[in-house]
């Protein structure tokens, strides 16, 4: 199994959920985050002083999935969250040793 960490723009949250859904992934965990990278923060003005917020708001999804679903999910998420502008975000793929469903104790694929 894989654990996918999707970092996307907040305005894409709903679309990403739909993309996951259409890839057959019925659950996810969502965290508010902020990030920086090629995209620099926006310049704001407060009382006449310009300042640069050096991070941008992002939303992080953590999604557990079977190995076989990975590439289709990535494809769907890219379509949903991509705008072609910098700051669209990243997908991190890590190995998931196991999953446990707390309610039932099921493990592995059945627990996703």
């Amino acid at each position: 199994m894989k654990l996918l960490t999707l970092i996307v723009k907040p305005s894409k949250t709903e679309l990403v959920k739909e993309a996951l859904h259409s890839s057959g992934i019925g659950g996810a965990t969502i965290i508010e985050a902020s990030g920086y990278g090629s995209q620099k923060g926006q310049s704001e003005t407060y009382r006449g002083t310009e300042y640069r917020a050096d991070t941008n708001p992002k939303v992080m999804f953590q999604v557990a999935c079977d190995d076989g679903d990975t590439s289709s999910i990535i494809e769907a998420v890219r379509n949903a969250a991509g705008t072609g502008k910098i700051g669209d975000g990243k997908i991190f793929i890590t190995e998931l040793t196991d999953v446990v469903r707390i309610r039932t104790g099921e493990t592995g694929s059945k627990a996703i």
Binding site: T45, Y46, R47, G48, T49, E50, Y51
Partner: protein, 411 residues
């Protein structure tokens, strides 16, 4: 007939006083909204405490110092009145009409005491985020019990400014400039908040934490100012006074409106956006600007006087923050001090006050208050450190001084 006039004027004085008292809430909200989240409970505590201290100290000695009926040196140092101490200033039998009072002495005291609290409220905003609580309260004791009353005596207690010809109807100078000069002295002694200025001299914006609360503060001040300026006519019970009072209400409102519009337009031209905190400061600037002479101008002139105040406060805030590197989180020194000076100096344009005496007043009030405050704060600092340490500032004064976070569940 005389009795009903006495009653109506007393009624008027206490309603005006209640409106001015309400300004304490306005300063609390304004400052709570414009400081950072971690310093909010502390600024709230400062405001509750300073108002209370001001009331007690003014009762204990300030009122008598300011209205002594006599003077030690030439109208500069007030003599000490007849009933220093924790009581009404005059014995209860001497407060009525037979002593020539137009309204009750207690109403007068009540109306006066909220003014000194206003002056002290100006200070709390400027020193936010780094001044420790206890030395602040000690300073409040001295300012409200002694410094403010002494210079207040010059203008309103029969001192040299009033006899000379200085004209300051409700206190652009006597209250607002005084508060701002004290604020400047403390800020001089304290230095900026940690993180306000980079090593390289760069200025860091430290945005206010709660804009609607700050705007509420501005609205409260706006409302309270009707009492502040309107009440300063003191009498409403005859036709001429009633007309004067309502002219003052109208002009106070128009000047604030002018200040808002001017500050918004200035912001729009300067940055392309309409900064809400500048609108707030514009309102206050308009109010301060009209305070020295609210009864003489027409409504249209009041708009213009306020609008110029709104422009001044915009550039003054930037100048203090960027050029002078003076950190004033709420813009109090600009709105009350710089605009206070402007307010005093604009009086001769709409009345026959003398420029020279107005200037004289500005210099005397600002100079005396600044120097006296500086001395006091250095003395206090010898005993209790006035500046929060780096760790304290980083953790936030709410946690180190108050023990209560302002918004514990909002993280």
């Amino acid at each position: 007939m005389d009795e009903i006039k006495f009653a109506v004027d007393t009624f008027y004085a206490i309603m005006a006083g209640a409106l001015v008292m309400w300004m304490a809430a306005g300063f609390t909200m304004l400052e709570a909204g414009l400081v950072q989240k971690k310093d909010v409970s502390e600024i709230v505590t400062k405001n509750l405490g300073l108002y209370s201290i001001a009331c007690i100290m003014y009762l204990a000695c300030g009122f008598i110092l300011m209205y002594p009926g006599s003077s030690l040196i030439d109208g500069v140092i007030p003599g000490i009145g007849s009933s220093w101490g924790l009581s009404t200033a005059l014995p209860i039998e001497e407060i009525g009409m037979e002593y020539g009072m137009d309204y009750s002495q207690q109403a007068d005291f009540f109306f006066q005491v909220v003014f000194v609290a206003t002056a002290m409220s100006i200070v709390s905003g400027a020193v936010a985020g780094r001044m420790k609580l206890l030395p602040f309260f000690l300073f409040a004791v001295i300012l409200t019990g002694f410094i403010y009353p002494i210079q207040g005596y010059w203008n309103w207690g029969g001192g040299f400014l009033s006899s000379g010809g200085y004209s300051d109807y409700a206190g652009s100078g006597t209250v607002h400039l005084c508060g701002a000069a004290a604020a400047l002295a403390l800020v001089t002694a304290l230095g900026p908040r940690n993180g306000k200025y980079g090593m390289d001299g760069s200025v860091n914006a430290m945005p206010g934490s709660n804009i609607p609360i700050a705007a509420l503060g501005a609205w409260i001040l706006w409302l309270g100012w009707f009492g502040f300026n309107g009440g300063s006519e003191l009498i409403i019970s005859d036709e001429a006074s009633a007309i004067a009072v309502s002219q003052v209400f109208m002009n106070t409102n128009m000047a604030a409106a002018g200040g808002v519009v001017a500050a918004l337009l200035t912001s729009l031209f300067a940055t392309g956006k309409m900064d809400v905190t500048m609108a707030i400061n514009g309102a206050i600037a308009g109010l301060v600007a009209i305070t020295a002479g609210p009864s003489a101008p027409s409504g249209g002139e009041a708009v213009i006087i306020g609008a110029i105040g709104g422009v001044i406060v915009y550039f003054s805030i930037l100048f203090f923050e960027k050029r002078l590197k003076i950190d004033d989180p709420v813009g109090a020194i600009s709105a009350h001090g710089i605009v206070g000076i402007y307010g005093v100096m604009v009086v001769p344009f709409t009345s026959d006050a003398s420029f020279l005496w107005q200037l004289y007043g500005v210099v005397a009030i600002a100079g005396f208050t600044y120097v006296a405050s500086l001395i006091v704060i250095y003395v206090i600092n010898m005993f209790i450190s006035i500046r929060a340490t780096d760790e304290e500032q980083a953790a936030g004064l709410d946690s180190t001084e108050i023990g209560v976070e302002a918004y514990p569940e909002f993280d």
